[in-house]
Structures are given as structure tokens and as C-alpha cells.
């Protein structure tokens, strides 16, 4: 079990970095927002994996992930709207 936990932890970290890389690499706001979501997914993956370390899962971490998800979706919605607005302005 530990091995696959390590695997998921590492994947979470790499996802986070992939998002970071995407953020750096892209200039288009929508792609940047997607990259941010990937970063977020990486963090959530780490959290869910950590919750799995004991026989019973850690409810606190799960609750934190739920909160994090809602925060992420609100921010994403707002950011996308802003991106559209700012690009429409440019035209």
C-alpha cells in the first residue's frame, strides 16, 4: 500500500508542477486558468492520498478538499469571465 501511496503523492507533486509549467509556458488566459486547475488537482490529489494513510480515511482532509474544490470553481468561473471581458475589450 505504501508504494502506491508514494506513487500518488509523487503524481500529485508532478501534477502541481505541470500546472506551474503550463502557467509559465502559456500566455493565453484560458490556458493559464486550465493550468491553475491542474495545479489545484495536484494539491487535491496529495490531500486525498494523505487521507488514505490509515485504515480509516481522514475526514478532515476530505472536507478540506471539498472546500478547496468549491473555492477553485468559484475562482475559475470569475477568472474566465474576466478573461473574456478583457479580451472583448481589446477587440
Amino acid at each position: 500500500m505504501t508504494l502506491s501511496l508514494q506513487l500518488f503523492l509523487a503524481s500529485g507533486g508532478i501534477l502541481w508542477l505541470t500546472g506551474l509549467y503550463g502557467l509559465w509556458r502559456n500566455s493565453d488566459p484560458i490556458r493559464r486558468i486550465i493550468s491553475l486547475n491542474i495545479m489545484g488537482s495536484g494539491v487535491f490529489l496529495v490531500m486525498v492520498t494523505l487521507a488514505r494513510r490509515e485504515t480509516s480515511t481522514d475526514p478532515v482532509l476530505h472536507a478540506l478538499v471539498v472546500t478547496g474544490l468549491v473555492v477553485a470553481v468559484s475562482a475559475t468561473a470569475f477568472a474566465l469571465r474576466l478573461a473574456v471581458a478583457s479580451q472583448q475589450e481589446k477587440r
Binding site: G19, I33, V43, V46, L64, G68, L82, S86
Partner: protein, 475 residues
């Protein structure tokens, strides 16, 4: 503690009331809410002075499970500062003619920002800070977008960087939780060891917070966002919002981090602070636009905070935290004044550039005076709040000959800040070709811009109780 909760809840409720009933005359409601919040904040401060730090476990659960609030002298002071600045800013927004167009949307956002800030100051929980930081970020970005189309690009960059910073912060928090199984600052402080996980986690958290606080070299978003925002918003952002991450950074490194990590990190933080002072000051001296100058000055002044924090950690000197927080409070007041004055001037001339300030001593004397007086505190001229803070900062630098190079840094920073402040002021004294007609309108807004500047100079007279307050805490 209850008073502090009232100070936090009142803005939240007021925001909901404004949103729900949408009264035509909203300003009185907002001002009353701010006054109530300020009174409650003062009562909280008094209660801390009387009976020392207080702790509250939300929901009545045991400490590792519950989110914990703690009222200490430092955050009581910050709550009062927040309330004072919000009160001044909403009064300014209500009285300035140039803020008419943004009012409807401004009130609820400003109130939510106020409540969120107080929630952040009170909390002692790493994840709860993540939520409050998100609140602050969203509220701040929404407020920036009030300026209309020109500000959208800056707002978007601000939002993306802020979200990125939050996720960086969150990863670090999760790692700390994974390692130590708690999110509470006080508990973590007893557990942490100087291992690899802790180090990485702390670095991630710090990177996220430094980005949010626009600490050099992660400051690039700040000048665009703060200068394109509407005037009252710029004041709130520069004065308060960027200080919130600094607060967390301070608690984290001075409490949670083991000293093996904190001492070397302190050195680097102090160096970065020095960099902020130099680069921020230099950029402020170069920019042709008034509000951008003020925004760069925020970058530079945050460098003082970082320098104080870094040296506090590096030398393990708790005395420096008084310097750190007095810097924060003094800068908050002075910067409010500067932004309000600059914004009022810019709105009335309709031009962004510095040279539109010609003849301002005649047309808008109070606004220019406010700018100069606030600038005096930023430079650190006595007897102002900024001076007290700087004085406390340089004392430990001077006592050891080995520390003298840091003092040199402060000298250069002071000269740079003097250079950019007087760059503006001397423009105001320049003769203007425009026929000199003193404008009567907007007088009250100008006086409101002057008010925080006067407060920051009054701070010097009350330095004794302020310092005692800080001592209560470090004892």
C-alpha cells in the same frame, strides 16, 4: 474576544443587507457599520491590554480539531487599523465626486473585504487562512475591476497570480498537515523539526505568501493592479490587503519554523527586503505616472517590513517585531492618505502624469499637503509613525559594528523615498499657466485624505503605549 467577533461580523452583515435590500442611500448604512466595527475593534484592543491574549476554539471543539481564533496585541492593533482605514475610505468614497459611478458595487465588496481581513487577523489556522486569502484575493480583484475596461487586464493578471500563490501556499500547508497532523499554529510550533519536508513546505508557503504580499522580486503584478484600481480601492489594497500575507509569514517563521531553518532564511528575507527597497524606490523615482509612483512606493515600503522580519529571524531578536508592526501600521495609514490624495488629484485634473500636478498648491492645497505629510512618514522623518518604526529597526543594526552594512541599506532607502516623495511635492509648487482658481468642490474628500496622514504623525506621540502593547506580547 467577543468585541473582535463583532468587529468582524458587522461588515459581513452590512454587506448582506446592502445586497439584499439595495437601499438608495447606502452610504449611511456602510458608514454606520464601519463605525460600529471600529468601536468594537477598539474594545477588543482595550480588552487585550487589560487581560492579555485571548484564545477561542470555534465550535467549542478540542484544539487540534477546531479552528482557533486568537486575539493578541498585534492583531488587535491590526483590527483597529483595518477598521480605521475602512472608515476613512468609505467616508472618502461617499464624499468624493469622482467615486459616484462605482459606489453601488463598491459598498458590498468593500464591506466583505473588511470582514475577511478581520477574519484573517483573528485566525490561527493554516487552512482557514487559505480560505480567507482566497476571499481577500477575490474581493480585491473584483474591486480592481470597478475601474472599468482599462483595469481588466491588470485585474486578470492579479487574479491569476493570486490563485497561483494560493495553490502554492496550499501545497505547503498540506505537507505540514501530512507531517504533523495539525493545522493550528500554536500546536505546530511545538512539533516542527528541521527536516526536508518541513523545509520544503515552509518554502512553498513563503513563496505563495510573498507573491500575494508583492514582496520583491514577486512584486510585478502590484504596480499595474494598484494603480489602475479606483482610488478608494487602491488605498485599501496598498494599505491593508498586502499586509495580510505578511502577518501569516511572520507567524509562520517566528513561531512555527525551527530556528535552524529560520536563522538562514531570515538572512535571505532581509536581503530580499533590501532588494525591494532599492528596486521599488528606484522604480518610483523613474515612473512618469502619479499613481504608479505611489504603487511602487508600496513595493519599496514592504521591503522595510521584510527587512525587519528577516533580521528578526536572523538575529533571533524579538524586539524587532515592534518595528515590523509599527511599519505596517504606519505604512497603512500613510499609504491610504497618499493614494486618496493622488487619486483625488488625478481625478480632478483628468491626467495621469506627474507634470499635471503643476500649481496644485493653489488649486488643491489640502490634497497636496496630505501627500507631503504622508510622504514624510514614509521617508521616516520625525516625529512620525514611520520614524518610530525605522528608529526601532536601526537600533540593533547600529549596536554591532558588524551589522553596519544593513544601516547603509536603510540610508539609501530613505534617500530614495525622499526622492520620490519630493518629486511629486516639488511639481505641486511649480507655477501653473492655468489661471489659479481654488476649487471649492471636493474639499471634504481632500480633508479625508489628510486625516490618516495626521493620524500617522500622531502615532509618534502615542509611541509609548504602542510599544508597551508590543512588549506585553513579546513577554
Amino acid at each position: 474576544m467577543n468585541a473582535a467577533l463583532v468587529s468582524m461580523v458587522v461588515p459581513f452583515f452590512a454587506a448582506m443587507l446592502v445586497l439584499m435590500w439595495r437601499p438608495q442611500q447606502q452610504s449611511w448604512l456602510v458608514i454606520v457599520a464601519s463605525i460600529v466595527s471600529l468601536l468594537a475593534a477598539m474594545m477588543a484592543l482595550l480588552s487585550v491590554i487589560d487581560s492579555g491574549p485571548q484564545s477561542l476554539n470555534l465550535g467549542g471543539w478540542e484544539s487540534p480539531l477546531a479552528i482557533r481564533f486568537q486575539l493578541m496585541p498585534v492583531n488587535a492593533l491590526l483590527i483597529v487599523t483595518t477598521a480605521v482605514i475602512h472608515l476613512i475610505v468609505v467616508c472618502f468614497a461617499a464624499s468624493s465626486h469622482h467615486c459616484q459611478s462605482i459606489k453601488q458595487a463598491f459598498w458590498p465588496l468593500a464591506l466583505l473585504l473588511h470582514g475577511s481581513l478581520v477574519a484573517l487577523w483573528l485566525s490561527m489556522d493554516l487552512f482557514n487562512w487559505y480560505v480567507t486569502l482566497e476571499l481577500l484575493g477575490l474581493a480585491a480583484v473584483s474591486l480592481v475591476t470597478l475601474a472599468g475596461h482599462k483595469a481588466l487586464r491588470a485585474a486578470l493578471d492579479y487574479l491569476l497570480l493570486s490563485l497561483f500563490a494560493s495553490l502554492t501556499y496550499l501545497l505547503g500547508v498540506v505537507m505540514l498537515y501530512g507531517q504533523y497532523g495539525t493545522l493550528d499554529i500554536a500546536l505546530l510550533a511545538t512539533l516542527t523539526e528541521a527536516d526536508r519536508v518541513t523545509q520544503t513546505a515552509l518554502l512553498l508557503i513563503s513563496a505563495g505568501l510573498m507573491l500575494k504580499a508583492a514582496l520583491w522580486p514577486l512584486h510585478l503584478w502590484l504596480p499595474a493592479a494598484h494603480s489602475s484600481a479606483p482610488t478608494p480601492v487602491s488605498a485599501l489594497l496598498s494599505a491593508l490587503v498586502v499586509k495580510a500575507p505578511l502577518f501569516i509569514l511572520w507567524l509562520l517563521w517566528s513561531r512555527v519554523a525551527p530556528s535552524e531553518l529560520a536563522v538562514p532564511m531570515g538572512f535571505w528575507l532581509a536581503l530580499l527586503g533590501g532588494g525591494a527597497l532599492m528596486i521599488g524606490g528606484w522604480s518610483a523615482c523613474r515612473t512618469p505616472h502619479l499613481k504608479t509612483l505611489v504603487a511602487y512606493s508600496t513595493v519599496a515600503q514592504l521591503g522595510y517590513g521584510l527587512l525587519a522580519l528577516g533580521l528578526l529571524l536572523h538575529w533571533q531578536l524579538n524586539d524587532l517585531q515592534a518595528a515590523l508592526w509599527l511599519f505596517v501600521v504606519a505604512h497603512a495609514l500613510a499609504k491610504t492618505s497618499m493614494f486618496l490624495a493622488a487619486g483625488e488629484i488625478q481625478a480632478s485634473t483628468g491626467k495621469k502624469r506627474l507634470n499635471s500636478l503643476r500649481g496644485m498648491t493653489l488649486t488643491m492645497p489640502v490634497a497636496l499637503f496630505a501627500f507631503a505629510v504622508a510622504g514624510g512618514s514614509l521617508i521616516g522623518l520625525p516625529p512620525s509613525g514611520g520614524f518610530i518604526a525605522k528608529w526601532l529597526l536601526i537600533q540593533p543594526m547600529l549596536i554591532e559594528p558588524a551589522h553596519w552594512p544593513w544601516a547603509l541599506l536603510v540610508i539609501i532607502a530613505t534617500l530614495l523615498s525622499a526622492a520620490y516623495v519630493f518629486r511629486v511635492v516639488s511639481q505641486g509648487f511649480r507655477q501653473s499657466s492655468v489661471s489659479a482658481t481654488a476649487t471649492e468642490h471636493g474639499k471634504s474628500a481632500q480633508w479625508l485624505a489628510l486625516l490618516p496622514a495626521i493620524l500617522v504623525w500622531l502615532m509618534a506621540l502615542f509611541s509609548e503605549p504602542l510599544l508597551q502593547l508590543m512588549d506585553v506580547f513579546s513577554a
